[in-house]
C-alpha cells in the first residue's frame, strides 16, 4: 500500500519529460529554465510547467541570481523516492517468500495424504 504522498511522488517522476528535466539538472548542477529549454525537444513553456510541478513536489529548489532564476535538484528528495521504490520491491519479495512457503507446505501435505490413502488401501 502506498501513501498519498508517495502516490504524488510517483506521478510526478513517472512523466518522461519531467524526468528529462530532472536529468539535466542532475547533470548540470544548476540551470535556468532558459538553458534547460535549449537541451530538450519540447517547448520552453513545457519546461516551465515541469519545473513548477517538480518544485511543488520538492524535487528541486530555486534561487535568484540577479534577474535569473536558477534551479537545482534536492538530493534528499530524490534519494527518498529511490528508497521508497526499493522498499516496495522488498515488500513484494517478502510476500513471494510467504506464498512459496504456503504453496510448498500445502503441496507436501497433499503428497502425504496421497501416500496415507494408498497405504491404507
Amino acid at each position: 500500500m502506498t501513501t498519498q504522498t508517495e502516490d504524488r511522488m510517483w506521478s510526478v517522476i513517472a512523466d518522461p519529460s519531467r524526468r528529462r528535466v530532472l536529468d539535466l539538472l542532475v547533470t548540470n548542477g544548476e540551470a535556468s529554465a532558459w538553458s534547460l529549454a535549449s537541451h530538450v525537444t519540447f517547448s520552453r513553456q513545457a519546461v516551465s510547467k515541469h519545473l513548477v510541478v517538480l518544485e511543488e513536489a520538492a524535487f528541486i529548489k530555486r534561487r535568484k541570481q540577479g534577474r535569473e532564476v536558477l534551479y537545482q535538484v534536492e538530493p534528499d528528495r530524490l534519494h527518498q523516492a529511490t528508497r521508497a521504490m526499493t522498499e516496495l520491491a522488498a515488500v513484494w519479495d517478502r510476500r513471494l517468500d510467504a506464498i512459496k512457503r504456503l504453496a510448498e507446505a500445502a503441496h507436501a501435505e497433499a503428497k502425504n495424504q496421497a501416500t496415507i490413502t494408498r497405504e491404507s488401501k
Binding site: W10, I13, R19, A89, L96, I99, A103, A106, H107
Partner: protein, 147 residues
Amino acid sequence: MSGLKIEREILIEAPVDAVWRTITEPEQITLWFADRVDLVAKPGAHGSMYFGDQGGPVVVEIVDPPTHFTFRWNHPADEEPTARNSMLVEFTLTPEGDERTRLRVTESGHESRDWPDAEKQRYTEEHQGGWTSHLERLAGVLAQRSR
C-alpha cells in the same frame, strides 16, 4: 505505459495448481498479504483488503486459472480504478515441470497522461529498464558528486 513499475519473481517447489490456490483463495491471501480479505477471484468482482486500519477497495480484472490473475487497488474508495488512479497487481504463473512453478508479480500504475508520441517513443528507447533504474542511476550520480 510506464508510471511506477515493480517486477519480482520466485521459483516455487509446488505444482501450478497449488500456487494458484495460494494466491487466489481469500483465506490463503490473509496468510501472505492483508489481514482482512473480502475478495472473490472473479473478473470484475469488487472486494476489499485491509492491513490493520489501513486498506481499501480491490477490483479483480483477469482470472485465467492457473496462470494469470490480476487486480487493481490503491484507488480512491469512491472511484472505479483506472490506469491513472490505481495500482495494477499482476501474477503470472509458469509451470516448470510437474512440481515446480515460476511465479512472477508486477505492480504498476499511476500512468501519466497526455504524453506526446515522440516522448513515448524516446522513453521506450531510452528506458527499457524502466524508470526505477533510471531513478537509481540519477541518485547514484548525485551521491558521487556530493563526495
